[in-house]
Amino acid sequence: MKFIRVDLTDHPIDAADLRRFVQDAGESGAVAAFEGVTRRESDKDHGELIRLEYDAYPEMARKELNDLAIRAGRQWPLNAVALVHRVGLVPPGETSVMIFVSSGHRAAAFEACRWLIDTLKQTVPIWKQEVYADGFTRWVRPASDPFPRNQPAEAPS
């Protein structure tokens, strides 16, 4: 697989541009996409979620995104992979991560796209913090993880 584009950006992701990039690669008969979006949520104590704040280790995150694209290209017959993740502030309804995969046939594109988002969420050094209407902030912890609950959050006391 020759065509890889990965990026971290603090601007809204240009999905049309990424889609064109993967669709133009090779003789593609299928383009699969995954888009992660900040969910509208509320917390009974802290009100509406007003934004997510993404932090990243940029050099390592770019390297890992690139490695993921390469690994996907080894597992499936893909023509192109585009992986872009936001950093900084992402309000509800906006896209935080965008993945496009192209291949000759649909099975490879679907499977690779699913594997890419699942693996990205487990491995790429990116962290998100929820910010609520009353100013309460909380780092999101993966469900399976033993990170202690008693970390100091900047909660108004």
Partner: protein, 93 residues
């Protein structure tokens, strides 16, 4: 004859440690420079970090360490100038 680093028990290496996400909040700094004895490993750095940053202590076992952009195990030896990063459980996507 001048002693080289290997034979000098007082020889030290300097590493830069970067803190991200929840680790930055717990340590209350973005980065720090630390000196360690020659021959130190990731495990020895964990011990020093727990001492220097008491806020990190409880969370440290759940964090991985990356050395020069690569996740490194506790036995990994550290070298002069290494860039080490604390990697708390990730939550991208």
């Amino acid at each position: 004859m001048m002693s080289n680093g290997k034979n000098n028990p007082d020889a030290r290496i300097r590493v830069t440690v970067l803190f991200f996400g929840p680790a930055r909040d717990l340590a209350r700094v973005n980065s720090t420079q630390l000196q360690l004895p020659l021959g130190s490993t990731v495990q020895s750095l964990r011990g020093l970090l727990a001492e220097r940053f008491t806020g990190l202590d409880a969370a440290l076992p759940a964090m991985r360490l990356a050395v020069n952009l690569q996740i490194a195990g506790n036995e990994h030896p550290l070298s002069e100038g290494d860039e080490v990063a604390l990697i708390p459980p990730v939550s991208g996507g």
